[in-house]
């Protein structure tokens, strides 16, 4: 019976659940990282203009 059920479990389905959890965890860090990128790009643009 157990094996029969296992055959119908889609291991890919966990990918949906897991990425929602992991996405939420990583999302926080990514938020700050994106701000850092924006700040950095401002300075890069400025120095480019000078050049």
């Amino acid at each position: 019976m157990l094996n029969f059920i296992l055959c119908y479990i889609d291991p890919g389905s966990t990918g949906f659940i897991v990425q929602i959890i992991i996405g939420a965890i990583l999302g926080v860090g990514f938020f700050f990282k994106s701000i850092w990128w924006r700040v950095k790009s401002l300075f890069t643009k400025k120095s480019d203009n000078k050049n």
Partner: protein, 456 residues
Amino acid sequence: MGNTKQKVNSSFRDPDAFVFKDDEGVFYRQMNTSYQSDFELFISSGLYQLLSKSEKLISHVETNDVVFNQSTHYKTIKPEQLSFISYAYEWSFDQFKDAAMLTLDVLKDALDKGMILKDATHFNIQFLRGKPIFIDTSSFEKYEDGMPWIAYRQFCENFFGPLLLMKYVDQGMNKMLQIYPDGIPLHIVAKALPLKSKLNISSLLHVHFQSSFKGTTKSVKKYRIQKNRLYALIDNLYSAISKMKVDQSNSTWDDYYTDTILSKEYLTEKTNIVNQFINEIEIKLALDVGTNNGVFAQLLASKNIDVVAIDFDTVCVNNLYNTSKNNKVKNILPLCVDITTPTPAIGWNNDERSEFVHRNKFDLTMALALIHHLCISKNLPIDKVAKLFSSFSKTLIIEFVPKEDEKVQLLLNNREDIFSNYSQQEFETVFSNYFQLLKKVEIKGTGRVLYHFGSK
């Protein structure tokens, strides 16, 4: 174009499109009507233009007059043709790493243009001009706001997990993909990884944490993930992969040329003779067996020849890949293949992915300082070696290493000499059964002889 068309054995799972070839060996991809709306978006969004221009995706021309199946036909495209197909279980660490990063790059570009990758198999990647390239033009679908990435787990099992195994366990661990072509199951990856891999946040989350989930029979279609969190997921995988490194020392052949008394003069003399041989014939595609540090593969490449350079030593292959990349040599494809046990055919009916030795015909095979390893280390009769080479190659440049040679003596040091048939005379007679002897030149002062054989 020829009249007979044949569906490619590896292309039958996707109802939206398939690959076929004509009797001249030219490959086409037929898009079916079910893929029409996604393909229109793929073009109109500018995604195709963006990806093909940056050589992340194979470019194509539309050839709608070439049709395989009229009833489902929407479009036919003729992609740029590849000179040789390779598989992820033949790549070295950095080839694998670049392929994984390319997949994430393509995914990010797709999301930027309102599309997403519907699969993330390693079979979507090939090598062209020294770089990985995405070849499945029908892998893109419209991104609906909030939809999760359906291929996330597949990416982890096809790329991230195998890369972690290559980094933490052994550089040859990607060979496991021969047994698990759909991706190495994450619970196996998690079990094989050392404890310290849990200290890395990416491997902890994407492998260890994910592998503890068993899957469900319930529908998960209603689940949603914000787009910025999807970007966060991709960014985390990308940066984890880009930081991965492996030990580049400890190659079997590291000091082959520097360690030997044969060294410099031997190498110069050998280069001159090989040069003379290859200038006499027209070669488009060559195979360098036991390529070592790739000196002779580079010689062929400098003559505008596409070279597949194989060695069982994964470190050597990785070094050659990186050297070629740094020197912008675009026509060498280094692969981890052991000629004594070449990649087998795998998949459905054992012919979905082809075996190495019959994947292509080569105009030239080069086997330098190799014969003694085959015949003495591996006990292979000379006849079997000649027969194998003649099965996939029109011509051959091969170096005979006599029994008196210091390297052969090294091999015989700790074993009984049971190789009474291993002689230059026997070698010449046997190879002449399969090839036509064109020329032989002795490498001065070494006793070694270079042979040039043509097809019979």
